[in-house]
């Protein structure tokens, strides 16, 4: 594999005697789109947090290539009725300030929104007034303003209606190629992500498969069954 930008070696995480991750090793090549799939409780989010340096209680090693700029889009919480009002402008500004190494202007915000297919006049609307799909696009726009070379998305479309998903996956793939980014995509939506992926990681505490999507034998497009078999 050429130019690995993420190298995970022998990562194991044990919590209260329970093995969440067991000797996980793999590499991710530059400018590839990699899907991390697996059943609920397989340790996908735990592994992502370890890769991002947000969880340091593990054994093994994670190496990110030098000079890489990493942005992270966590799972979207859509039905939080207690959320206080926040404008889209404020939501984006949380990530784009000097403390986090990026400083952008309103004009950049509008460009970034247009880039992900959200109208610029939404910038001063309340964030919660947007649909799930729009909110996820705004989250992607916010991450892109950090000019990432690696973008990590954890279940990006879990809270998005089914009709919006195809467009969003196409957008993620388009942006990955356009910005020459490495994308690590954690997903349950196996049927949708497999055709887009350059590499598939099947995780169920340990890594069961690290392969090309074509290695999965899909019968009538039923990738789920194939993946279930592999993972």
């Amino acid at each position: 594999m050429n130019n690995p930008v993420i190298t995970v070696e022998g990562v194991t995480k044990v919590v209260a005697g329970r093995r969440l991750l067991d000797d996980v090793s793999f590499t991710i090549a530059a400018q590839s789109l990699v899907s991390l799939i697996g059943p609920n409780g397989a340790g996908k989010s735990t592994l992502v947090k370890i890769i991002l340096g947000l969880d340091e209680k593990y054994t093994g090693s994670v190496t990110i290539g030098s000079g890489q700029r990493v942005q992270y889009i966590p799972q979207l919480v859509i039905d939080d009725q207690y959320q206080l009002p926040m404008s889209v402008y404020e939501y984006i500004s949380i990530a784009t300030n000097r403390l986090y190494g990026t400083k952008q202007k309103t004009v950049d915000f509008q460009k970034a929104l247009a880039h992900v297919g959200v109208s610029a006049d939404k910038l001063h609307q309340t964030h919660t007034s947007l649909s799930g799909g729009e909110r996820q696009r705004v989250a992607i726009a916010r991450a892109l303003l950090g000019d990432p070379s690696i973008l990590v998305l954890d279940e990006p479309l879990a809270a998005v209606d089914y009709a919006s998903r195809a467009g969003l996956y196409a957008l993620i793939r388009h942006l990955q190629q356009d910005h020459k980014m490495t994308v690590l995509l954690v997903s349950h939506d196996i049927d949708s992500v497999l055709p887009l992926s350059d590499q598939v990681l099947c995780l169920n505490q340990s890594l069961h498969t690290d392969c090309h999507p074509s290695d999965f034998t899909a019968k009538d497009g039923q990738y789920n069954q194939a993946v279930h078999h592999h993972c």
């Binding site: 991002l52 340096g53 947000l54 990110i64 990493v70 942005q71 992270y72 966590p74 919480v77 939080d80 207690y82 959320q83 206080l84 009002p85 926040m86 404008s87 402008y89 404020e90 500004s93 949380i94 990530a95 784009t96 300030n97 403390l99 986090y100 001063h124 609307q125 309340t126 990590v152």
Partner: protein, 270 residues
């Protein structure tokens, strides 16, 4: 209105407005972080600081500040360890703070002291030094909130905004705890430790329906808070009831009024 010419009344209004600005400014961050109970926890911790100050013979109010800063740092560290849930920690420090305070005051029993002033406030007894300290605290807290506005917004978001390979959001969360500690410190002197939580939370609940951005929410919360404090204090000049009780009653009245108006507004819109 002759009462307004008295220095202690002027100090009460000045201290009250400063407290209202601080609670209105920080309240939205507190509610957004789902840690409204934290102000109550901090207030009880402050009582243990007051008790410790009595033991070593320093001014009780000033003794509360280091206790608040030290314990808020400890709470932040424990929360980030991921071992204990926030509500369990709240109860630990809430009850523990009170128990320690009782023990300290008991040991220092030669001192004539009433906890009531700090539980329910003593806004009509503010001294020049108290008001200067409040003014300085207001300037420091407001400046830090203004400078770290967006990082604070991310650190108090639910779920919290995370940035790969940096502890900066965690440090901002610590800053938030310290700011809250200072606001509680002002609160125990003015409206009281048991009531400061109401002034942090109720104005936010009153304003949230009418704001379309967080900045608007903060400005409206400050407005509601200042209106509650000034109207509560004015009423206290003519009605024989504790000022703290009247101030909180005003916040509840304003909340109820806006809820009625909002319901009518929604009904008219449909």
């Amino acid at each position: 209105m002759e009462l307004l010419t008295y220095t202690f009344v002027q100090y009460a209004f000045l201290g009250g407005v400063l407290m209202a600005v601080l609670t209105g400014l920080l309240g939205p961050f507190v509610v957004q972080s789902r840690q409204s109970i934290a102000s109550d926890m901090f207030a009880h911790v402050a009582l243990s600081g007051i008790g410790a100050a009595l033991l070593i013979g320093v001014s009780p109010w000033w003794g509360a500040l280091p206790a608040l800063i030290i314990v808020s740092t400890l709470i932040w560290w424990l929360l980030n360890s991921g071992t204990y849930s926030p509500d369990a920690l709240a109860m630990f420090f809430l009850s523990g703070g009170l128990a320690l305070a009782l023990a300290f005051v008991h040991v220092a029993r030669d001192t004539v002291f009433s906890f009531e002033n700090y539980l329910f406030g003593s806004i009509l007894t503010l001294t020049t030094l108290d008001v200067i300290a409040m003014l300085a605290a207001t300037i420091v807290v407001s400046s830090l909130v203004w400078f770290f506005w967006y990082p604070l917004l991310g650190a108090t978001q639910s779920p919290r905004y995370l940035v790969p390979f940096t502890n900066a959001p965690k440090i901002v969360q610590l800053l938030f705890f310290w700011l809250l500690a200072v606001v509680v410190w002002i609160g125990i002197k003015t409206i009281g430790g048991l009531l400061i939580g109401a002034l942090l939370v109720i104005p936010v609940l009153t304003a949230r329906e009418w704001a379309s951005s967080f900045k608007q929410l903060v400005l409206l919360s400050i407005l509601v808070s200042v209106m509650s404090v000034t109207s509560g204090l004015l009423t206290a000049l003519y009605v024989d009831l504790p000022p703290s009780s009247l101030i909180i009653s005003m916040t509840i009245l304003l909340f109820t009024l806006q809820a009625i108006v909002a319901a009518m507004w929604r009904k008219g819109a449909t």
